[in-house]
């Protein structure tokens, strides 16, 4: 059962990824990315990472994707035109990507990760255990994260202000 779920989710994720890079209209790329996010959240659940699953659905599939959709709505649906400039880029990138995939493939052959030994799944990956980790050992990075988000929010507001608003 879990294997079937894995393969369905993996197929969805790969199909969505191919959709992201092949669709000409940005809005379709964004919607394909939502498919990828949902499929990945199912995989996180299979990996017994419940909190990451919830965060993935809310933060990524919810907030970040809505942000992308808003920006597309703001900028208008611009279709991408394939220009004739720098045609060799495509072939060069194909070569580069093949080399990269070969490297990753070779690395994956080196590791022989099988199934992990049974663990206590009543504690692993639950909100409780994540919270304990986040608020004790990793409290300092967690607090720094809030500063990062604040800086990002201020930067976004500053960058997207209107012309002539800077008094």
């Amino acid at each position: 059962m879990a294997i079937a779920i894995f393969f369905v989710a993996a197929a969805l994720a790969v199909a969505g990824g191919i959709g992201v890079i092949t669709f000409r209209q940005p809005i379709r790329s964004v919607l394909s990315l939502v498919v990828v996010m949902i499929a990945l959240s199912i995989l996180f659940l299979l990996l017994s990472a419940q909190f990451i699953f919830v965060a993935q659905v809310i933060v990524y599939a919810g907030a970040v994707m809505v942000l992308f959709l808003f920006v597309i709505a703001l900028l208008g649906p611009a279709k991408e035109i394939a220009k004739g400039r720098l045609r060799f880029q495509t072939w060069l990138s194909a070569l580069f990507v093949l080399a990269l995939f070969g490297l990753i493939w070779a690395m994956l052959q080196g590791v022989q990760y099988r199934q992990p030994e049974q663990t206590d799944l009543s504690t692993f990956g639950t909100v409780q255990s994540i919270g304990i980790g986040l608020f004790t050992k990793y409290l300092y990075p967690f607090e720094l994260t809030s500063i990062l988000l604040l800086v990002a929010a201020i930067g976004a507001i500053y960058l997207s202000r209107r012309e002539g608003d800077d008094r």
Partner: protein
Amino acid sequence: MSTFDAGGSQLDTSWFLLLAAVLFILGTIGVLIRRNPLVILICIELMLNAANLTLVAFSRQLQNLEGQLFALMSMTVAAAEAVVGLAILVDIFRHRDVEDVDDLSELKG
């Protein structure tokens, strides 16, 4: 708290790693061949998600929760990156009509 087991412990970690590699490669292809800056940002999000999948997969393999915490942190960083990147894009698009990242080459000198 009830035990939650989706049956995922029958799955090999290397399958997840392979899937993450495929998704990362797809994102790389998108960054390299697409011309719309917005789509390039979307492809970067795809690559970040693939990296997150490896983090969570290794977290389960090594029975160490820190991988999941790292995944949470990288999710935050990805959200901040998307916000700032999109704000820069909106600012650029407001000032001129860019339909190709090759048009943004002022820093080339």
